[in-house]
């Protein structure tokens, strides 16, 4: 683990109308590290990571990548910084098939400049075989897929393009027990490859198992960030519910 953090979010703020969805939040992430984000619904977790992924424009604060200040004003900017995101809503075009979704915005093209569907389908088959061996419906629109299969497509899209920074917003919400385990294994594997991962989940036990550090948000504010070996599950639960860091108070 190097000294310069991969990502530094400094004093990030954004409001919608009167609501301060994210209120002066700072957080960093190192290469080979998994940082978990916890908090009630509406705490501002998705909004914070959407600022990093370029979906929202922040009102205040700075984003630093690899020790350099980064301007992220669009999803394209984020991709240029090797940031890949699995959105909570999955962000799939339901009328397109898995391959078209996986490569959306980054289509493989033939030398003539036409989209190369054969190649994209083959690549999709390859990565899906690794992530979800049961996945067979390559040529059907993703609206015909089950929740778990759709989630696999969204995960495949984030993993395929050699991300350095991976954002996963409730990636296992629609998955069964077996598939959830596969995602956990994938996270460990990617972490070993040196990726930095922001993981959002409501499953505190899973977070204790997968994350190096966890951050808790409430009402748009950062309650605290702790190394998982320094806290118990109960500590985290009380941070989520009370919005106070018991360790800081002690």
């Amino acid at each position: 683990m190097s000294d310069t953090p991969l990502v530094q979010l400094k004093d990030i703020s954004i409001s919608f109308g009167g609501i301060k969805a994210v209120d002066h939040v700072s957080l960093d992430l190192h290469a080979g590290e998994v940082v978990g984000l916890l908090g009630h619904n509406g705490a501002g977790k998705s909004t914070l990571i959407k600022i990093l992924s370029g979906a929202y424009k922040k009102d205040g604060g700075e984003i630093w990548i690899d020790g350099k200040r980064a301007e992220i004003n669009s999803p394209r900017d984020a991709r240029d910084h090797n940031i890949e995101t699995i959105y909570q809503t999955l962000a799939l075009a339901d009328n397109l098939d898995a391959a078209s979704n996986l490569f959306l915005g980054r289509e493989l093209t033939s030398p003539m400049g036409f989209v190369d569907d054969a190649k994209m389908a083959a690549e999709t088959a390859k990565i899906m075989a690794r992530l979800n061996p049961n996945f067979k419906k390559l040529k059907e629109p993703v609206s015909a897929l089950s929740g778990g299969q759709r989630q696999s497509v969204a995960i495949a899209r984030a993993v395929y393009f050699n991300a350095k920074i991976l954002i996963m917003d409730e990636p296992t919400a629609a998955l069964g027990v077996h598939e959830t385990e596969m995602v956990a294994d994938l996270i460990k594997e990617l972490k070993d490859q040196g990726l930095g991962i922001f993981l959002i989940s409501h499953d505190t036990r899973e977070m204790m198992d997968l994350c190096d550090r966890v951050s808790v948000m409430k009402n748009g504010q950062m309650v605290g960030t702790e190394r998982v070996e320094d806290v118990t599950e109960d500590d985290i639960l009380s941070m989520i519910i009370l919005g106070k860091n018991p360790k800081a108070a002690a």
Partner: protein
């Protein structure tokens, strides 16, 4: 669901009727079949109505079907663009008025402006006029798209405004006059005996068409092999090739079966110094130039929608605009481009329509927006967005034009025509909703 249980699947196949098996193996979609059946019904219905009520079946004649092909061109060209507009959940109500306005501008350029500087009949006149028309269509469309995308004014409002503005502008520029006659070469783009490519030219097109059908089937089969997808049985491929080639050859025969009228032949013979025998000379019209333009536009638009990133993004935006945005697609700029393309195609349609008329009037294209939208929707473009095909829109355009031509032929007056066209549009959308509900 049945893919985990091979037993039920096997018995399903056994229970399946011959027709269902035919559909499954040829992969012909039922919707396309339904549209073709509706078209056949319309054609036969009008023909026999004429035969029984007026004593003369005028619909299924080479003359009428040739005219139908020419009349479909202008609507069909615009319908291919409307598919993109509707797929991305917008609408364009301004195309008919824009067509009229562009026609006036092109008319003014080639009748009132250019002859002064270049001299009457200069070969550059029609080229400059068309260039001006296409450029104008593109710019007007882009302007509307810009207001929709960046001004966030709903497309319905922007183009409803356009419907009035462009029509009014056309009347202002023309000051109520008809601008005529258009340049002689320009006029050929509207069809007519001289604006068609004749017997030999049509057979060249027909043979190229047959080769294209075969190539598509063979390339498609080869691609499925590389995809590792199941192949159609050989009999089904052969059947589709035969149907495709048969349709192309049949159309060519039909287009060639319509001869030049006697008066034109007499004039032509006199000019060429040919002796006309007492039984007359049979000179085929063949494919009309506007029909060839429509075919060209259809091929180009199909490639655009199925083989390019642009087409992929159009479908993605229609399916989920937010997802498209998050995938890094500049959805606003795409909207500008889509409306600019719609305007460009309206420009082409305007060339065809005013060339066919031989003049430009500010009323040209009145109500075309309804026919164009109806063509796209009848052709399977979903108003909910994300779904639609170019070939469907062309079929839809043929259906709409058949209805109109048929009603004129059997002597329905304009009021009844409006009632019928309006009802068909609403019924078609309702049938579409039922179809989608059942196929889910």
């Amino acid at each position: 669901m049945s893919d985990t249980n091979t037993d039920t699947k096997a018995s399903d196949v056994k229970r399946e009727g011959a027709f269902a098996k035919f559909l499954r193996e040829t992969e012909v979609d039922t919707r396309l079949l339904g549209m073709l059946a509706a078209l056949a019904l319309i054609w036969i219905g009008f023909h026999y109505y004429g035969l029984f009520v007026n004593g003369f079946g005028a619909f299924l004649t080479p003359r009428n079907l040739w005219n139908l092909s020419v009349q479909t061109s202008s609507i069909g060209i615009m319908a291919t663009g409307m598919v993109l507009v509707i797929i991305t959940r917008h609408i364009d109500l301004s195309v008919g008025s824009m067509l009229g306005f562009i026609a006036i501008i092109m008319g003014t350029v080639q009748v009132n402006i250019l002859p002064q500087y270049l001299g009457l009949g200069h070969p550059m006149i029609w080229i400059i006029a068309i260039f001006a028309g296409l450029l104008m269509g593109t710019l007007l469309g882009a302007f509307q798209g810009w207001m929709i995308a960046y001004g966030t004014i709903p497309a319905f409002i922007v183009t409803l405004g356009g419907l009035l503005v462009w029509r009014g502008a056309g009347f202002l520029v023309a000051r109520g006059e008809t601008i005529a006659p258009v340049d002689a070469t320009f006029k050929l783009l509207g069809g007519g005996p001289f604006g068609a490519i004749g017997n030999t030219g049509s057979w060249i097109i027909g043979i190229l068409g047959c080769i294209a059908v075969l190539a598509l089937i063979i390339l498609g089969r080869r691609k499925r092999k590389t995809f590792g997808l199941p192949l159609r049985p050989v009999w089904a491929e052969t059947f589709l090739a035969a149907i495709g080639a048969g349709a192309v050859i049949g159309t060519t025969l039909l287009m060639n079966a319509y001869p030049w009228p006697k008066g034109i032949i007499k004039k032509y013979a006199a000019a060429e110094g040919i002796e006309v025998p007492p039984e007359g000379i049979f000179i085929s019209h063949g494919f009309a130039i506007p029909v060839l333009i429509l075919i060209g536009v259809t091929i180009a638009m199909t490639i655009l929608m199925t083989r390019t990133k642009f087409g992929r993004y159009v479908y993605a935006i229609g399916g989920n605009p937010e997802a498209a945005e998050l995938a890094g697609i500049n959805t606003r700029w795409m909207t500008v481009k889509i409306f600019a393309l719609m305007g460009f195609l309206t420009g082409i349609a305007s060339v065809v329509a005013s060339a066919r008329l031989g003049s430009a009037t500010a009323a040209l294209g009145t109500l075309d927006e309804l026919y164009v939208i109806a063509a796209a929707v009848i052709g399977g473009t979903s108003l909910a967005g994300g779904v639609g095909t170019i070939y469907g829109a062309i079929l839809g355009a043929i259906v709409m034009q058949s209805l109109q031509t048929g009603m004129v032929l059997i002597g329905f007056d304009a009021a009844i025509q409006q009632v019928v066209v309006g009802s068909v549009l609403v019924i078609a959308v309702f049938l579409d909703i039922l179809y989608r509900r059942n196929s889910k």
